[in-house]
């Protein structure tokens, strides 16, 4: 290596370039600088290159710094308790696709617990641990249903991060204004400017925000520019009045009844009919009342229906659509709309002072019952009338509740939505006790979580009955999945008896007992996990 000293002395800034060129061509074609041609030339070149390499590396200097990103906005929420932070990391690590696929066995689906975890963490106002934000954004990217809760939990730093990575651009789209905040309540100038100059999504967000603080101010904002808005925008803005609709919205809505756009007119009419004290509701009550009466000339009182013979200009102005869809009779189409829009409270007066129960129980002449009851159902849902909903739902144990009747399961599910959570749960529990689980899925979906005790018990009992009947658990996988998410974790102990593999009855499907035991194990495991999850998120008590 004595030769290297001379190479160092001879070195110039261009030395390295020269060495690379010589190396590429080969020493047979080009003699390295400072050495003789011949058998030693390659070795001399390697010596010189070794010196230069170490020299270059040893002499490395840092680069100039690039433009630094602006700091992320502060997140003032408190950090997660350590155990909850570990749990989050675990839930996020269990991505779909990471699994081997196939039968789920007894292990819970952790990803399914993430929505609940996020809801609980959001309810308690915790901030997301910064290091978990990439995994959180990846999870939200794959599942749109998760996005609102995930992005809310992820907070301002996630939006900051999303601006740096195109994979997470959805986060900017999903948050109105890309995180640009709605002006504060006292910033009237800012509100006015955003309303006049903002993009449509920003304006919708602004209207929603202002209306949630001050309904009248929101309506005034809308009224100021109403005449100049495009028809499809008018429709969207009008729709945003649906949340928190109040009697003093009536004049504005009455004005919209004369709108150029038919869809705007129809929406205005629909909103007015949800205000039972409105003038429109009153007009509809008169029209509907003229079509429905009690015939007292018979031994048993009976409802008789005389559907409208025409759809006049007044009806059209009040939002009744004149043209019936294909396959429907015009007169029954008009009747349905009148009854749907009439205040439910008017029927008691009209039909001999009867209660909703008594009215629903009356026989209806000439096959009008289906049409009439369906319209009342829509009215009960629109006007959120619990008494009428109760009457139309009937007894959960009634035979027609489970099968095809005047009121379909989908309508029952909607009617249940107007009842308070406890009553809803009790009704569905009663339904399951009589009709079993196969029809109950839709109804369970509208029940509040965690399920109230009687409902949870009814579901578990029904699953147990299904098991004893020898069917396979995956026939009930929908309900099982719901149970994993919705059953109260404190019910886990009651399931212990179901974990054993039962003796198979003669007519049972082969192996079903083992699968049931597995399914119940998974249910119990998931419930325990949920209980632990919520415990970890609880504020420290000590």
């Amino acid at each position: 290596m004595s030769r290297t000293t001379t190479a160092v002395d001879a070195s110039l800034p261009a030395t390295w370039e020269e060495l690379v060129t010589t190396a590429l061509l080969g020493t047979d074609r080009r003699t390295p600088a400072g050495s003789a041609p011949g058998p030693d030339a390659p070795s001399a070149l390697l010596d010189a290159a070794a010196v230069e390499t170490v020299r270059r590396r040893a002499g490395l200097r840092p680069a100039r710094s690039a433009e630094r990103p602006r700091p992320a906005p502060d997140d003032s929420r408190p950090p997660l308790p350590p155990a909850a932070a570990r749990r989050l990391a675990m839930l996020l690590a269990d991505r779909p696709g990471a699994s081997g696929g196939g039968r789920r066995g007894t292990a819970p689906d952790l990803m399914e617990l993430l929505p609940q975890w996020l809801a609980a963490a959001n309810a308690r106002g915790f901030a997301a641990p910064p290091a978990e934000l990439p995994a959180l954004l990846d999870a939200a990217r794959g599942r749109t249903d998760l996005r609102p809760a995930a992005l809310r939990f992820a907070g301002p730093r996630a939006l900051w991060l999303a601006r740096l990575n195109p994979d997470w651009r959805f986060a900017l789209r999903s948050t109105p204004g890309g995180g640009a905040s709605v002006p504060g309540p006292h910033d009237t100038e800012g509100i006015r400017r955003l309303w006049q100059e903002g993009l449509f999504a920003e304006r919708v967000a602004l209207l929603t925000a202002v209306r949630s603080r001050d309904p009248a101010a929101g309506r005034d904002l809308l009224a100021a520019t109403w005449a100049t808005e495009r028809a499809e925008d008018r429709l969207m803005f009008l729709d945003s009045l649906r949340a928190g609709l109040r009697p003093d919205d009536e004049p504005f809505l009455e004005g919209a009844l004369a709108d150029r756009s038919r869809n705007v007119r129809a929406t205005a009419a629909e909103l007015l009919s949800a205000l039972p004290g409105s003038a429109l509701a009153g007009r509809m009550a008169v029209r509907a009342g003229a079509c429905v009466a009690v015939d007292r000339t018979r031994d048993v009182p009976e409802i008789v229906v005389e559907a409208p013979h025409e759809c006049d200009a007044g009806m059209e102005r009040d939002g009744v659509l004149a043209k019936a869809p294909a396959g429907r009779g015009e007169r029954s189409w008009w009747l349905g709309q009148l009854v749907e829009a009439a205040p439910l409270g008017s029927w008691s007066r009209r039909l001999g002072g009867r209660t909703p129960q008594q009215i629903v129980a009356l026989p209806v002449a000439d096959d009008w019952q289906g049409e009439l009851h369906a319209a009342w159902c829509r009215a009960a849902v629109r006007q959120r009338d619990a008494a009428w909903s109760r009457a139309l739902l009937g007894e959960p144990s009634a035979p027609e509740a489970g099968g095809p009747g005047a009121v379909s399961l989908a309508e029952r599910a909607k009617l249940l939505g107007t009842l308070d959570a406890a009553e809803r749960a009790e009704w569905v529990a009663g339904f399951i006790e009589t009709h079993g689980l196969s029809e109950a899925f839709q109804l369970l979906g509208v029940c509040a979580t965690p399920w109230a005790a009687p409902l949870g018990r009814a579901v578990v009992d029904a699953l147990n009955i299904a098991r004893d009947a020898g069917s396979y658990p995956w026939s009930f996988s929908g309900v099982m999945g719901l149970a994993e998410r919705c059953l109260d974790p404190s019910e886990a102990g009651r399931l212990d008896a179901l974990l054993a593999i039962p003796d198979e009855p003669e007519n049972a499907s082969p192996g079903a007992g083992g699968y049931w035991s597995e399914a119940f194990q998974r249910l119990v495991t998931t419930l325990r996990l949920r209980a632990a999850m919520l415990r970890e998120l609880a504020p420290a008590t000590s």
Binding site: L25, P42, D47, L60, P62, S65, A66, P130
Partner: protein
């Protein structure tokens, strides 16, 4: 959650997994469902019965008495160590949701861990005896070493011949001759019992395919390989430290004979690399009293995790002794005095300029060094064109991230942790740039692993 004062996280448990399939399977078993009769003892044994597809449940035991070398036993047929049941059991235990209560080990578990501990004690004995026996016949050992050195010398000479042939014909031809030539040369180096030369040669073969600038990289690596070969041939003339570095770079094993240094060693990072045949696990440690940074290496055959697993973020009261060679960070783990425990201490940070200067100085002792371990004190990750850099918060200088670091998910954890504010980052700093391995927020907070 706390057993023997140790608090394992799910990440630490999953770091034990031999491959990603086991990691996934373990995670699925890490819930109470399939488990029964679980428990953990004060001595650090965790046990449980896991219901599988068969009729009898598997008996799974883990011995964590020595947290740096956990041992596993499971009656399942899997040959992986640890198997998914052991991982699941540990996850269950680490989650701490009362699914693994403290208790008295059942006989089947207790028997195994007791036997194991006696066996370990006994093995420590004969090993020492073996070392003494070796020392008792220095003449035979010297002859063996001489024979091997001759082989390596022959290999180095052959390699030198191949390198000069290459340079005579020109590197441009190397792109055409392809991988085969280098694979064959690497095989010759394996025969010559010079595994260090073999692996460098193999890496050389991949360089012509690495895109623009490959001739520069190929020349650099050829030159350094040449330097190593020449260093070996003239090792008698080198100072002792450099000669030892050359021996270890060539691949001649030397026992770690440095004086044992006792400290509380904070585990900074643990990551695996694999070449298909062998998994190499690197564990970086930081002496909270001495301020020294040290590297533990451990190896596993394909499909098996290396045995050593240390929980990142905890500190280990232990003795380490260095391997010979000037400026070597590599150490061997000696006696451990207590299980790993949390520590508020973080490694002291430096600037990007001083980090590079440190790399330059380290090249004096070991010109073959690709990188040195460095903790940067206050840096901000910033996007820089297609890449990223770590910019000093208080100066106008920055280090680019290595191409490999740019495509890893750890980058985004680092960016998220920083949020545009300064962070402290531990990593490897060298001529290719900086590879972040762990980071701390500026305020209080635990180490965030980035690898």
């Amino acid at each position: 959650m706390t057993q023997q004062g140790v608090c394992w996280t799910a990440d630490q448990v999953l770091a034990l997994a031999p491959d990603s399939a086991s990691r996934t399977a373990g995670r699925r078993l890490g819930t109470a469902g399939p488990w029964s009769e679980t428990g953990s003892s004060v001595e650090g044994t965790v046990w449980g019965l896991c219901k599988g597809s068969g009729t009898t449940a598997y008996r799974t035991v883990v011995d964590l008495a020595d947290a740096s070398a956990p041992a596993f036993r499971c009656s399942c047929p899997s040959r992986k160590a640890p198997c998914k049941h052991a991982l699941g059991l540990l996850l269950l235990w680490s989650a701490g949701d009362r699914a693994v209560p403290r208790g008295e080990a059942p006989e089947w578990a207790e028997q195994w861990s007791a036997e194991r501990r006696t066996r370990t004690e006994r093995r420590r004995g004969p090993d020492d005896a073996g070392a003494r026996r070796g020392a008792a016949d220095p003449e035979a050992a010297r002859r063996r070493a001489e024979r091997r050195a001759e082989r390596v010398t022959a290999g180095a000479a052959e390699l030198e011949q191949r390198l000069t042939d290459l340079l005579r014909g020109g590197l441009a031809s190397a792109e055409r001759s392809g991988h085969g030539l280098w694979e064959e040369t690497a095989a010759r180096m394996v025969d010559a019992q010079a595994p260090g030369l073999a692996s460098r040669v193999r890496e050389l073969g991949a360089l012509p395919g690495t895109g623009p600038g490959w001739p520069v990289r190929l020349l650099e690596e050829c030159a350094l390989l040449h330097l190593l070969g020449r260093g070996w041939l003239r090792r008698e003339l080198l100072p002792e430290g450099l000669a030892a570095t050359v021996r270890s770079r060539v691949g001649l094993p030397a026992p770690a004979d440095g004086p044992p240094v006792r400290d509380r060693w904070l585990v900074l990072a643990q990551y695996d690399t694999t070449d298909g045949r062998l998994t190499t696990r690197r564990v970086w440690l930081y002496g909270t009293d001495s301020g020294r940074t040290a590297l533990l290496l451990s190896y596993g055959a394909a499909g098996r995790a290396p045995e050593l697993a240390l929980p990142v973020g905890l500190a280990l009261d232990a003795e380490l002794s260095g391997y010979p060679g000037a400026g070597q960070p590599r150490v061997a783990l000696g006696e451990r005095f207590a299980a790993p425990a949390p520590t508020p201490v973080r490694p002291a940070g430096t600037t990007t300029a001083r980090a590079l200067a440190g790399y330059g100085e380290a090249l004096r002792d070991d010109p073959w060094l690709d990188s040195v371990p460095v903790t940067l004190g206050r840096v901000i990750p910033a996007p820089d064109g297609d890449g990223w850099q770590l910019a000093d918060a208080d100066q106008d200088t920055a280090l680019p991230l290595t191409p490999a670091a740019r495509s890893r998910p750890g980058l985004w954890r680092l960016v998220a942790l920083s949020g545009g504010a300064p962070v402290r980052v531990f990593g490897e700093c060298g001529h290719q740039g900086f590879t972040p391995l762990a980071a701390w927020p500026e305020g209080p907070g635990e180490a965030v692993p980035l690898c």
